[in-house]
Symmetry: C2
Subunit: 482 residues, 2 copies
């Protein structure tokens, strides 16, 4: 392992994070609130540490898979640790573990919170809290669309049509090009939502913060009642639509921009994603209409909002959906596992994996009918290689295994099985709220410190596509030269 290069990159990352804290500092100074000193201290400290680390002797310049994997996981941890310091220094979140949980939750765009009263916190702190979603969302876009395929990790190679596999010296320019396009799209969507929310009567500050939570599919709000605090149906629908948009593969926006409407319309993952949303909204709307609201318009709006919020793994709430019937909650629970599309800011397993796995089942049925036929699983008219199929299947199994074992460990808290399992599903899938003990009307504050750390770990695990993190836990990774 080339530790020099790892430390150097982490140092650079820290410097970038320090710079990204400046808007929060500016806001704190503008409002002249108590958190300004905390931000100033953090920024100076991080710049200094970042500079020192960036001077590490890096030896050979080449970053190999081993360094790459270490940087990604460690980077997320380091950034979360330092990002939590403003919360601690300002006294907003006195406990370091709580602050770490909150910041991991922010950067992984989970949106699970340990803050019981958000509304008393200074505005600079709240800005930083929501801004971590926005940074995290951008980070994950670049990570899954550009870095993962370049490292040959995971099953995402499949989804980048232009990617002919990593060709050593061409990686860097392609990553940069892709990243630049993603940044642009991300910024455009962000600005659009802020404007639309302001047209609905929100002030710039709240419009921006809720947009960060939306486009990053994070879910942090400035209000204790989440989006329920904004009774305007317009605002709720705007946020719902932008959540759905943020769960779409971002490269499709580029296709749209290039006028390839047909390709976008034929995209199978998009179709599955929208179909699941459509069916879920209809089923839940009918169910909650008879059970709770007795008004089809209101029922439809809340169903649309909640379904969009959960499937995109955002986690905003307009109502306490934990009070809905088991049927509606069951659907939402299942959506927690589906998640957004590949190449979006959404978490979960991703629709493309569900799509491939459904096709795998279909093929198995065909094989019983025609045992001797060779049938390939096709996505976008191209056969999915057996290795990719095995990779996707492994991902699904590992996801369920972590979910099951995680639930058992978390249940040591003495909470109900639904509380424990939904807490694990909601962190592993980067959603935020779950049910009962972690329902939308409550927070993660009542967990013990070990559980908070474990749940933070799950957020990271889910965000980094499991294997990227899991591999660091194997002795082989550290033993072998790769």
């Amino acid at each position: 392992m080339n530790y020099g290069v790892v430390i150097k990159v982490l140092g650079n990352l820290l410097a970038v994070e320090a710079v990204s804290m400046i808007p929060a500092l500016a806001l704190a100074i503008y409002f002249d609130e108590g958190d300004k000193v905390a931000f100033a201290r953090c920024i100076v400290m991080m710049l200094m540490l970042g500079y020192i680390a960036s001077q590490a002797p890096q030896g050979k310049k080449k970053i190999k898979a081993k360094e790459g994997l270490t940087i990604v996981t460690l980077g997320w941890v380091v950034v979360s640790f330092f990002g939590s310091l403003p919360f601690v220094f300002s006294g907003s979140i006195p406990s370091l573990i709580d602050a770490f949980f909150e910041t991991v939750s922010g950067f992984t765009t989970t949106g699970a919170t340990i803050i019981n009263d958000i509304e008393v916190l200074p505005r600079g702190i709240l800005f930083w809290r929501s801004f971590t979603h926005w940074i995290g969302g951008m980070g994950i876009l670049v990570f899954t669309v550009a870095i993962l395929p370049a490292m040959g990790v995971g099953s995402f190679q499949l989804f980048k049509a232009e990617s002919p596999g990593p060709v050593a010296d061409k990686i860097v320019p392609r990553i940069k090009d892709t990243a630049k396009l993603l940044y642009k799209t991300y910024v455009i969507i962000t600005v659009a939502e802020i404007i639309l929310l302001m047209l609905g009567g929100m002030n710039l500050y709240e419009a921006a913060l809720h947009t960060f939570g939306t486009v990053g599919t994070g879910g942090f709000s400035t209000r204790n009642a989440s989006i329920g605090a904004f009774s305007s149906p317009y605002i709720q629908v705007v946020i719902a639509v932008f959540m759905i948009m943020s769960g779409v593969n971002f490269s499709l926006y580029y296709e749209l921009y290039k006028g390839k409407w047909k390709d976008v319309f034929k995209n199978e993952e998009l179709r599955l994603y929208l179909s699941i949303i459509g069916i879920s909204v209809i089923l839940i709307a009918i169910n909650i209409n008879t059970q709770v609201y007795q008004n089809i318009g209101v029922s439809f709006r809340h169903a649309l909002f909640q379904v969009s919020s959960i499937i995109t793994t955002t986690g905003y709430a307009t109502v306490n959906f934990d009070e809905w019937s088991t049927f509606s909650k069951g659907i939402l629970f299942m959506l927690m596992f589906v998640g957004g599309c590949a190449g979006s800011t959404g978490g979960g397993m991703k629709n493309i994996r569900i799509l491939v796995l459904l096709k795998l089942i279909k093929r198995e049925v065909s094989k019983i009918l025609h045992p001797r036929a060779v049938i390939s699983v096709k996505v976008a008219d191209r056969a999915v290689p057996p290795d990719t199929l095995a990779g996707i299947a492994s991902f699904f199994v590992l996801y369920m295994a972590i979910f099951a074992l995680g639930t058992i460990v978390i249940s040591l808290e003495g909470i109900s099985l639904i509380s424990a399992s939904s807490a694990v599903a909601a962190t592993l899938g980067n959603i935020g709220p779950g049910f009962e003990f972690v329902g939308p009307a409550t927070t993660y504050s009542k967990f013990s410190n070990p559980s908070k750390l474990l749940l933070s770990f799950f957020m990271l695990l889910g965000r980094l596509e499991l294997f990227t993190v899991a591999i660091l836990l194997t002795p082989r990774f550290w033993r072998e030269e790769i």
Copy 2:
């Protein structure tokens, strides 16, 4: 489709079932209870119907995959329907749907019951009820070990070392040989348990009925409190040991008989199965000892019993484990999915599939370390073919999909999510009791008729390895000539 041959085989099956009712009739006559007329009527009717059906013109004698699959699923349904008639005719279970549920539960060796007071029923009826477990257990052994591989369906080819694939004219003798061996082993284990239970003070009748429930991994008892009614630790331990034995691949007993102790000891599926049991027993014993019993011996016994009962998918209970802590219940819930070994009477996903899937994950990690290496998944030192891997992965995904969607549908009953999900897991995995609404201290009687039918369907689906049944639901199966 050659309907003649299907009807003919079903007719023969009906005749066999009629004969298998004779012991129950004899018992009813011996005790001179009200159910004797019901049995007599059923037997005469079934023999007549069976004879008529067996006269169906069968055309070509050869049974192809299409007929085979239809016979298997339809056979299970027909046998369950006629097997339920003694319950209805005797007035023991007035509702036909309830009686059907109970009989499907019996033949699939699930053990889920709709009878709230078992102890008032006539002994002939109770004998028949438990005997369906014994017949079902034997049926499933022959089905999974002999018939499925011969039809080339599912992923069980893997586990029969001697099976070189179906060679047309050699199938019948091999099925017969294998079946004969299985029968022998099954009968020996049955007799052994009956004797051991009688040595513990049970009378022959109760010893036999509980043995049927054990070796078939069914779970029907003659007592409302299940095995909790027998306070003798000896009896509880004997049943626990025989449950574990019945969850083992039966071909291993033949290996043992041939003196191949080493092969048995090296069997990876057996090792995984015993490891899961061992770890679960220890964790639960410690947990319930501090939480409930404060006596390590008692805690260990109940943990051993409940873990064995759930993982083998039997469903007997010595205590109301629904009152245990979430941690212990979480482990039991997970064991519902694991199930027994392939080639045993146990249900669930089977340990061999879990084993292969764990190895698939391990390979995925290795692949990240060595992207260009070709690494095969090996069981018993032989590479698992990619098609079999895909088959096992599809099975896992389909199992989880049915579990999730089934839970949502069943939750329309207005019960809790744990009730709905454990009811689906407990029927799909052929376990019997679940948690809360379907806990060990309650029954399935409170479900609506549609739910009872759906849960019966899940029992069948799980018992017949999903795809065997699922394929009959595809239009292609009926349209295409195969």
